[in-house]
């Protein structure tokens, strides 16, 4: 089961679209599990939120074995810099774990037209699939059409598809089959 938790108010249509796409991608039931507050403890001095701290500090939701929790926020996230600098943080997931967070701060503007809203929703779905994919042990993929391709990659198309490549789809299916429940 994938449980979506919003950290602020979201449009219901967006959540419904996201639930549908996640269900199609992983074959797992998806539901909106409510809304929580952004943890103040995770806030850094520059107005961004530390992604790791956010997942540690956020108020938990009730889960069962193999449940995955996806948090959605519009706050900008950050991670600690690596040997070559700080990678842009679109989302963060506990690899093979339970919780992931997706930030909408880097998305293109949602707009008001149907087309722009649909594009925005697709992008949201793609990043959500990416984060949940990490929760199911998926690594980044070199295929720019796959949702597991890094979101900052220059080869990513402007309106990427919210789908997994066949390799990642099979791998996730295998992992899900082998899960406890």
């Amino acid at each position: 089961m994938i449980r979506i938790v919003t950290l602020e108010r979201f449009d219901e249509g967006d959540i419904a679209f996201l639930s549908r796409t996640l269900f199609q991608s992983f074959g797992l039931g998806t539901e909106h599990a409510g809304q929580r507050q952004l943890p103040v403890e995770a806030e850094r001095g520059d107005g961004r939120y530390d992604a790791l701290a956010l997942l540690d500090e956020v108020e938990p939701v009730r889960t069962f074995a193999d449940d995955k929790v996806l948090y959605l926020t519009s706050a900008e996230l950050s991670v600690q810099p690596g040997p070559l600098g700080e990678p842009p943080c679109w989302s963060y997931a506990q690899y093979g774990g339970e919780k992931a967070v997706v930030s909408l701060s880097r998305f293109p503007a949602r707009g008001v037209s149907e087309t722009s809203i649909e594009t925005w929703r697709k992008r949201l779905a793609r990043e959500a699939i990416h984060a949940v994919g990490h929760l199911w042990d998926l690594h980044h993929c070199y295929d720019a059409r796959c949702a597991m391709h890094p979101p900052w990659s220059p080869s990513l198309p402007a309106a990427p598809e919210a789908e997994l490549c066949s390799f990642d789809r099979e791998k996730s299916e295998r992992k899900i089959r082998l899960a406890k429940t």
Binding site: G82, P83, L84, G85, P87, Y95, H139, H140, D143, P150
Partner: protein, 397 residues
């Protein structure tokens, strides 16, 4: 019977030592973190003694950090399996500079690439793993990876991510972001890179030479059976050209070329009993010749002949003198000149009918020009194919 040596045993002596490899199991202490090649980061939990198959073995017990799987390694095997310490900060920094450096020269030969990548994963240290990831990633920009290499790429990425995570003390998801930030930097981002570390040296593998055909024929004892692979029947020129081509084939791609040479030459060269080359001097029945010419070329191979026919066709004593005749027969230039000789009357026996391969072959040569072309190249396939022709026709009879 002893099987082939294990993956870890075989190339160990040839591989250069990688930094951090544990040469003595005595260096290990409970709580140490080590990297087991192709398995990932493990934590030493202790040493225990077990009796296995009547032998008392001292085993180092490890626990794979990723999933808690238990790994037991005999103490004596520790230096051989390439167990090494977790990469240091300097090594990891070198890895990132290597990943971020320009790389546009992926190995295009899949056999070489797959073998080298397997060696790198086992004995290349963390840099070897990074080389696999970068090499396959670079290749994926040219064309999609085949399934096996896609899996290898994913495994290498998994190993690299976990080792980086352990070495830097960050979660694996973050380590993967670091790796891909170096591998696929966002548009407009440039790094101040240091010179990347020297690539991992791979062992020089001896290339397999295909066994000489004549030797293998002797080893098989085909002479005693009255069988002739026909290798000796090659014309001098053709034999020379084949000898000359052999090193070139080897030079190209070790295994692939060897396989190809074997595939074209040796495998089809083992003749079906009815394909055996026969002397052209033997008289051929006229009606046979006529039938052969009328008979359209058939693709299906003829069934093996009766034992009596085989005896008549190739008595052991006569086998040797037949070859010069055949050798002459292989020259395409001579083929038309010998055609009239094929019209010699036949004794009527089926064996005798089959015993006229050379004329029949020559008669068939114009009907199938591609065979003639192959024959001109002096390949073994063309020879055996040409030798088949008369026997098929006579078989029908």
């Amino acid at each position: 019977m002893k099987g082939p040596p294990g993956r870890h045993e075989e190339p160990k002596e040839q591989l250069p030592a990688v930094e951090g490899v544990i040469a003595d199991a005595g260096d290990l202490a409970p709580g140490d973190r080590v990297v087991y090649p192709n398995q990932g980061v493990c934590r030493i939990t202790g040493v225990e003694v077990k009796e296995i198959a009547g032998q008392r073995l001292e085993l180092v017990r490890m626990e794979r950090e990723e999933d808690g799987a238990a790994v037991l390694v005999p103490k004596g095997k520790v230096p051989a399996i390439g167990l090494r310490k977790v990469a240091t900060g300097d090594q990891i920094e070198g890895v990132f500079h290597y990943l971020a450096a320009q790389y546009d020269d992926p190995e295009l030969d899949w056999k070489v690439r797959h073998r080298d990548n397997a060696d790198r994963l086992i004995a290349g240290g963390v840099l070897g793993v990074a080389e696999v990831v970068k090499g396959l990633h670079a290749l994926s920009r040219i064309r999609p990876l085949p399934t096996k290499e896609r899996e290898q790429y994913d495994n290498a990425r998994h190993l690299l991510v976990h080792e980086v995570a352990v070495s830097l003390g960050v979660p694996p998801a973050l380590a993967e972001d670091y790796v891909d930030y170096a591998l696929m930097p966002p548009a407009g981002v440039t790094f101040k890179l240091k010179p990347p570390p020297k690539p991992v040296e791979l062992p020089v593998r001896p290339r397999r030479r295909p066994a000489p055909a004549a030797e293998s024929e002797d080893e098989l004892g085909l002479d005693e059976l009255g069988l002739d692979l026909g290798v000796e029947a090659l014309p001098e020129g053709a034999a020379d050209s084949e000898e000359g081509a052999e090193p070139a084939a080897e030079g190209a791609v070790a295994d692939g070329a060897a396989t190809e040479v074997e595939g074209e030459g040796l495998a089809p060269e083992v003749p079906a009993p009815d394909e055996l080359p026969l002397p052209e001097e033997l008289p051929l029945p006229e009606e046979e010749e006529v039938e052969e010419e009328e008979e359209p070329p058939r693709i299906r191979r003829a069934a093996p002949p009766a034992p009596r026919a085989r005896e008549a066709r190739k008595p052991p004593g006569e086998a040797k003198p037949e070859k010069p005749g055949l050798r002459r027969g292989r020259f395409p230039a001579e083929a038309p000149a010998k055609k009239p000789a094929a019209k010699a009357p036949a004794a009527g026996a089926k064996a005798g009918a089959r015993a006229a391969p050379a004329p029949g072959k020559k008669a068939a040569a114009p009907a199938r020009p591609e065979r003639g072309a192959r024959e001109a190249k002096g390949t073994k396939t063309s020879k055996s194919g040409a030798a088949k022709k008369p026997s098929r026709g006579s078989k029908k009879k």
